[in-house]
């Protein structure tokens, strides 16, 4: 763990009190030209000598026992080089390993990649083929004969919790903090948080509102499908090129599943076309590696869009019941919730995070939270921007809006009156440090949007707030001073949202050089220190922290070098504003000294490796105006404003982009997106034509308000940015719909047929 050795810097200024020179500016991103000219290399672009093509055969059933797999006809097809099934993967046992941002049961991971004795969802991978062309591979997959015993499926969380529901796993017993149930069930985990006395709190309330909510399964919807290319060398070393949020976690997962030490697995992260949490767990990488081992040639495997929808991890559907009591003054006296999240085929939904987020925006004296992690016959869920928090906010923020209506309270005043602040003890126990909930809500309240009245028939305005923890975790960088005065920065975080630049800017700020004088690149697992995934809104915080440490390391070395050249002691030299200053008016600019480095001794290479605490939580407050067509139920968004505490906006344009992107994904989640399942458990809308994500035609400009409440846990006061903007939108939209047409939506998505149904039922 790194420690903050410097004096905390005031917001907007460098350590010596001077204004930032680089932080807060908007330089052109270093990878911009490659991206806009199409020259950036993504996984699908990879071409290797002797490349073969893989295809994955997937289950047509949502729940079935595999009685036999006959691959003989596929293997006999000309052009086929290898066919593999689960038997070709290592049996890892039921071990649980830490992948940096969450623990994984390796047997579940292995069975998810290629099913062993059962398929647990439609699209579950069963076998894979490598062939001279993808067409031959696909044809061969069709020749694989799998004999199934079809079993009843359960795809709804509450049905799965009922006694007598079809069991996905005979060996799954409900865990209650280390206490194991005696009978197997689909409930993998139950936990509870309590604070104060909820009975007493509800007894003191003037009004109590209790409602039930349902949210649908939705996908992250990243534009680039999963892909992996692997080359298993005869010397037993494997190289994997892939689209991932974390090269090191791919290395560990592949090593475990193909039974190699991690030193024999090299992962090269390609550019990534979106992840949002869905590109952390591996799917294709071990398959490509084993196929390559069988063939002796590199093998590339790509997913189709249907594969992505049906075979990778969406975010969970959920059932949430919330009860909130408020006294006559508008203060919350008690809050209680029951939350059940679908984990998909294997345990591990984000119920823990959802449960810890649901009441986090408020100072609640008496609270109780029960959370359940439930397996169902759907793909195993993955993280998705602030995992678990959006479902929770939809439920709570709709109830708080109803309370405000009943008590005739201004919804933002209600949130300010009950806001969590520094010192507030959360219902799950810990006490908040310095946070920006109040400042964020005040920013929304002072916005032009909030101050501008909304008029018109069937129009309504809604607000909602949201919280996400953010996280720190491990990051590494190295930085080499070049003779021309630039610095080559190698970082371990895959770049999804422009983080090459936001990290380079922190290095540049610390060194007193320009952002363009830093040449950032993303390293592979053999060329940079261990770095956890790009997720949890952590990269600009933690990897930026590592860059700061690397810059400080360079400063120390350059001071020593200047002292050597000037023949003085190092303590006589100081690093000031990008220059080395010595006795008697001696001075080198950074560039002047860099030019002398290779002539005066060893190269100067800075290193930074951190595992920082103090990531600082993030709060968001959103306002939305809608117009609802009462004849169709269609919701048009007229205006949208998102306010968010970001600590310090390193590159404001990227911060705005993250806020806008998160809000748009939340809007899609709220209004349109869902997995449609038929009675057999088959997804019926696994294309982007039928799975409706918002486009620019559906949306106005998302206005952003950047709130900067400094995070004392970071040298430049950074808080994570990328996740919390997805949290408020569904609730804000539900509240706006209510104020437009008078119907309370308690089920996501609020698509036209569902809104119309409620209007007609009114």
């Amino acid at each position: 763990m790194a420690t903050v050795e410097h004096e905390k810097q005031a917001q907007g200024t460098s350590g010596n009190g001077k204004p930032y020179k680089v932080i807060g500016t908007r330089p052109i991103r270093h990878d911009g030209v490659d991206k806009v000219t199409g020259r950036a290399k993504y996984g699908a672009d990879l071409r290797l000598s002797g490349l073969l093509y893989g295809f994955v055969l997937r289950s047509p059933h949502a729940h079935a026992r595999i009685k036999s797999i006959d691959t003989s006809r596929a293997k006999a097809l000309p052009g086929v080089r290898a066919v593999i099934t689960h038997r070709d993967l290592r049996e890892p046992g039921s071990r649980v390993v830490d992948l940096g941002e969450g623990a994984v049961n390796l047997r579940h991971l292995s069975n998810n990649i290629l099913a062993a004795d059962k398929v647990l969802y439609r699209g579950h991978a069963v076998a894979a083929v490598a062939a001279d062309s993808v067409h031959v591979a696909e044809e061969a997959a069709g020749l694989i004969k799998v004999e199934y015993e079809v079993l009843p499926a359960v795809t709804d969380v509450r049905s799965a919790m009922e006694a007598g529901a079809p069991l996905l796993h005979d060996d799954l017993f409900t865990d209650e903090l280390g206490q194991r149930a005696t009978k197997p069930s689909n409930v993998a985990k139950h936990f509870r948080f309590e604070k104060g006395d909820v009975s007493e709190g509800f007894a003191r309330a003037k009004i109590v509102v209790e409602r039930e909510f349902h949210t649908a399964t939705v996908h992250q919807g990243y534009i680039e499908p999963h892909n992996a290319t692997a080359l298993w060398n005869p010397d037993g070393h494997v190289t994997v090129w892939t689209s991932t949020q974390g090269a090191f976690t791919v290395r560990q997962q592949v090593a475990e599943l193909v039974n190699l030490p991690i030193s024999r697995v090299k992962v090269i992260p390609m550019e990534i076309g979106g992840g949002f949490g869905g590109k952390i767990r591996v799917y294709l990488e071990p398959v490509a590696a084993i196929l390559s081992k069988r063939c002796g040639q590199p093998v590339k495997v790509l997913m189709s869009r249907a594969d992505v929808f049906e075979g990778t991890g969406p975010t969970p559907g959920s059932y949430i019941k919330v009860k909130v009591g408020v006294d006559a003054s508008g203060k919350i006296t008690a809050a209680e919730t029951y939350m059940a999240y679908e984990a998909g085929a294997y345990p591990g939904s984000p119920i823990g995070a959802g449960a810890m987020c649901i009441f986090a925006c408020y100072d609640i004296p008496n609270g109780k939270i029960d959370g359940y992690d439930v397996v169902v016959n759907k793909p195993q869920t993955s993280a998705y921007r602030a995992p678990g928090a959006t479902n929770a906010a939809f439920a709570l923020e709709t109830v708080t809006d109803e309370i405000c209506e009943k008590l005739k309270l201004d919804p933002l005043e209600f949130r300010l009156k009950n806001a969590a602040r520094e010192g507030t003890r959360r219902v799950d126990g810990p006490v908040f440090p310095r946070i920006g909930m109040i400042e964020t809500v005040e920013a929304a309240k002072n916005s032009d949007h909030w101050k501008t009245p909304l008029a018109g028939k069937n129009r309504g305005r809604g607000v909602a707030v949201g919280f996400w923890f953010n996280c720190g975790l491990k990051s590494s960088v190295s930085a080499t001073v070049n003779p021309d005065g630039t610095v080559a920065l190698v970082e371990g975080s895959t770049d999804i949202g422009g983080t090459r630049t936001s990290i380079a800017m922190q290095l540049a700020e610390t060194l007193g050089i320009g952002a363009a004088d830093v040449v950032p690149s993303v390293g592979d697992t053999d060329s940079v220190g261990y770095t956890d995934v790009t997720g949890g809104s952590r990269v600009t915080f933690a990897t930026g922290y590592a860059a700061y440490e690397a810059a400080r390391d360079i400063q120390r070395q350059m001071i020593e070098r200047a002292a050597r050249i000037w023949e003085v002691d190092a303590p006589q030299v100081s690093y000031e504003d990008g220059s080395l200053v010595g006795p008697g008016g001696k001075k080198f600019t950074f560039r002047e000294l860099a030019a002398q480095v290779n002539k005066t001794g060893e190269p100067i290479v800075g290193r930074g490796s951190v595992d920082p605490e103090g990531c600082g939580g993030a709060f968001a407050a959103h306002i939305v105006d809608v117009e609802v067509d009462p004849e169709t139920g269609k919701v048009d968004i007229l205006r949208y404003t998102a306010a968010q505490d970001v600590g310090t906006a390193i590159h404001p344009a990227y911060v705005e982009g993250q806020i806008q992107g998160g809000a748009v994904q939340g809007i899609g989640w709220g209004l349109n997106e869902e997995y449609f399942y038929d009675a057999a458990g088959t997804m019926r809308n696994s294309t982007f034509l039928d799975y409706r994500i918002p486009t620019c035609y559906d949306l106005p400009m998302i206005d952003t308000i950047i709130v900067e409440v400094p995070n004392p846990g970071h040298p430049y006061s950074v808080r994570g940015v990328g996740e919390v903007p997805i949290v408020p939108p569904p609730a804000a939209l539900a509240n706006a719909i209510y104020h437009a047409v008078g119907v309370r939506m308690q089920r996501l998505p609020m698509s036209p047929p569902k809104v119309l149904h409620e209007i007609l039922a009114k």
Binding site: G102, N105, F191, D611, E723
Partner: protein, 87 residues
């Protein structure tokens, strides 16, 4: 003294106590002190020589990646929470 908050589902193992004060310098020592007073509690919190998978520890509100190795300054609050991951 360290103030340890006992999660509700663990309270049957502590005779219903929701907070317990212990002398400890690390989370490992916190768990050992709890185990000494309430035998069986370590098994609920730990597997082998680590916190149980899916469980995290927060000291003074900050979730630690060090688990049992995390130091706990005198006067600290310790919470055992579900481990979370972001997207």
């Amino acid at each position: 003294m360290i103030k340890v908050f006992i999660p509700p589902l663990l309270r049957p193992a502590t005779n219903g106590l929701d907070q317990i004060e212990v002398e400890a310098a690390t989370v490992r020592q916190v768990v050992a002190a709890l185990e000494k007073r309430h035998p069986g509690i370590r098994e609920r919190l730990c597997a082998d020589d680590s916190l149980r998978p899916g469980l995290a520890v927060a000291v003074n509100g900050a979730v630690s990646s060090l688990g049992l190795l995390q130091k706990v300054p005198d006067g600290s609050e310790v919470h055992f929470l579900p481990a979370i991951g972001g997207g």
